[in-house]
Symmetry: C2
Subunit: 458 residues, 2 copies
């Protein structure tokens, strides 16, 4: 099976224009976490809606929410054929530490067939592939062989706080037979894989308060609590020396990995030495008894994402800090409920409160873990599409990341979810020097054209 | 014994002008730690030199160093009388966290007879008292009964990195019979005390490095080292659960406190409940077996002054930080050598380096502890000056802070050092809302006039 040769010719003819339009989108600094970028997030939504209209999609609109907007569009002229709902996000992560970028994160540059920019890989690039794949089919063949709806949000990087309400308010508008998402990675540059599992997520902030103001370490040092000492003492209770999470009950709802799945995960191409070298590490660390692939996809974690208190400027300041702050996220698997985990963490922080200080916990995002049935036609069509575009046998993988809304779509719309990504694990998303491999840009367009022109059942 | 009634009349007549001139000095943001304030530090030096000239001092000059300048001036017209070298500093601590100030730290405001501004108490206010005390004597009596030299530096808050070289280069210029410093606290608002001991200091920064860049916690979480986890694990090894420092050898050169000194320290007015309440604390913490006064003056400490890594912005960022940084200072007593302590800390950090990361230690400031003989005439004259100005029997105290240069003056010039302060412990130096009590401004001027007009021997 293959795709129409006219599509291939059109893709080649239009490649430079497609890339330039993606670069336009990447120039918009749509950082959803920072309120200073609110107008930029709106600008990215407007640009995407215009792109969808220009591609031939209908009813393209920027729908307001109580947060950043949702971009909707559809093309519903294939009666009797499945309706595909495409989810993606046009918001991006913050860019700091900015000094570690080799370039302006919002001035996209192509080097060695890689497109460097914040959001190139997560998720503006992969989302934009759907727009261009459908544009190619529509402009070349004059019609689409399936029905398509787009629901592209602007709050994925902050935990999609308003998308669930949007789905509930627009159930009919969003009704579909299958949800298709390109926001996951494949295994390697020529090894595509359908993702059948995602880790869940919960986030929290911990605040430690000591005296009513910072104090001089010479005059008060020795007799008063130091918020940083207390924070360090508290955070040191979260893991044992092997890296296991020591919060009571944390692992209670984690099912043991089955032999069949462990064997399958072992067969995924992975080399600890290469992995370690690519990350610039002298050694890997992690939970004893599990492989690296298991650790990053099938086991839960608790990570400090940020920690700060006291003086951070140049030189020294002899101060006893009165406050300290930590940002924490957990990755969850199987039946771990994010709200239950947040409760366990809250209890842990309260029972381990160091002497002399007050600890408060502020709950953040929550997303349940996700696992899907790989035998469904909607997923098998994705396998065939990868096979066509990459000319290798695709794999199946679990992913360590979280797409909070996948679980919500799964629960609210009750339709199969296909996670068909085109990003590589090493593309620095959420970090400096994010890029998108243009090899996967080209193969991704072909895989998606295959998918949209071969999907018969879900 | 008393002071000339003409001095008293002059002080009352000139009070508003004296205060306004101090406010002018406080308006200059001479933050020595921040290179952006280099010109402000120079401006404060120039203002002080002008003030000394206007007060009648001679040879007032701003001497360049390899860092911030030193202000010198003298008045040497009392042959056969002692020469007093006045040391002080015109630089100030950084002001962050700025949001905790009730006002602009560099827009001095008087409320309830307190002068609020960064540097008001540490040390622009007390240093300025010497200028105005000598001005009062000179302008009223026409001459000074002692010889006086000023050596006011601009790098005290960053550990006086260039003052020792300055002293060595200007031994003759600075030669004197006694060193007089007002950069210590008294016990309470009507309880002056000569300070006979200072803690020493050493500072260091600790850097933890993991992967070559920040990593996505979903994709890599579980298998790679987190610089913040490693930093927390490392810093948690520095104290035991009671707050004792656990660095091997740290207490080796700390002599046990003698019964006589413990008894004297117990008699200083201090109430743990009042102290705790004034700081907004639910409870005090500290090394078991020692009183609060002993803990903050006669026992060594290791304090985290700053700690940071990862995301600190609004919201959450699911990142595994690749670097983390901590700023640490130790307060030292007795025979603890700051360079030996830095070596012990370096060894500790290397032997406790967590798995998977690289730890580096950057040494900072170093100052030896100081203890002086309270029976010398130079100190007994200070006792008499306090007794006159405050009309109570003065005390003797050790101070928990460090004035790095005291030990250097002691070692290089081999002259007695008199620590005669006018600040209160609660005046928020090194913290938001620093202030200087104007009651001590007034009494301080009278005490210093007494000192300069009664010093016969050192």
């Amino acid at each position: 099976m293959t795709i129409d040769t006219r599509f291939e010719a059109n893709l080649q003819a239009e490649r430079q224009r497609h890339l330039e339009e993606l670069r336009q989108l990447l120039r918009i600094p749509s950082v959803s976490a920072l309120s200073a970028h609110k107008a930029d997030v709106a600008a990215a939504a407007a640009y995407l809606a215009d792109s969808l209209s220009a591609a031939g999609m209908e009813h393209a609109a920027v729908h307001t929410t109580n947060g950043h907007p949702v971009v909707y569009a559809d093309h519903l002229h294939a009666p009797g054929k499945p309706t595909v709902l495409v989810y993606g996000h046009y918001d991006v992560q913050p860019v700091d530490p900015l000094h570690l970028w080799d370039q302006d994160p919002f001035d996209p540059v192509i080097r060695h067939n890689k497109l460097y920019a914040r959001g190139a890989s997560d998720d503006k690039g992969p989302t934009f592939l759907h727009v261009k794949a459908l544009e190619t089919i529509l402009k070349t063949a004059g019609s689409l062989p399936v029905n398509v709806k787009f629901c592209i949000e602007g709050e994925e990087e902050i935990g999609s706080p308003h998308l669930e309400a949007f789905i509930l308010q627009h159930r009919d508008l969003l009704s579909a037979d299958v949800l298709l998402i390109s926001d996951t990675t494949i295994i390697g540059s020529n090894q595509p894989a359908v993702c059948y599992g995602l880790r869940g997520l919960c986030s929290l902030e911990v605040h430690v308060r000591a005296a009513k103001s910072d104090l001089h370490s010479g005059l008060f040092g020795g007799a008063v609590p130091n918020a940083l000492h207390a924070m360090v003492e508290l955070l040191a209770t979260l893991h044992d020396e092997d890296g296991r999470v020591t919060v009571a009950g944390f692992y209670d709802d984690v099912a043991p990995l089955g032999d069949e799945e462990r064997t399958a995960l072992q067969q995924l191409p992975h080399d600890d030495g290469d992995y370690r070298m690519s990350l610039g590490l002298d050694e890997l660390v992690g939970e004893p008894g599990y492989s690296t692939v298991e650790r990053v996809t099938a086991r839960p974690t608790l990570e400090l994402n940020g920690l700060y208190g006291g003086f951070q400027g140049e030189g020294s300041k002899t101060v006893i800090p009165c406050e300290a702050h930590a940002k924490i996220t957990c990755r969850l698997v199987n039946d771990q409920d994010p709200f239950k985990i947040l409760r366990l963490l809250d209890t842990h922080m309260r029972t381990h409160q160091p002497k002399g200080v007050t600890v408060t916990v502020q709950q953040g995002d929550a997303a349940k873990p996700f696992l899907s049935d790989i035998h469904r036609p909607a997923i098998q069509t994705a396998v065939a599409a990868y096979r066509f575009a990459y000319d290798v046998e695709p794999g199946f993988m679990r992913m360590g990341g979280s797409i909070p809304i996948v679980e919500a779509f799964d629960r609210l719309l009750k339709i199969p979810v296909v996670l068909m990504g085109f990003s590589l694990p090493e593309e620095n998303f959420h970090a400096p020097n994010e890029y998108f491999s243009l090899d996967n840009f080209d193969k991704g367009l072909r895989a998606l054209i295959y998918y949209y022109t071969h999907l018969e059942r879900v």
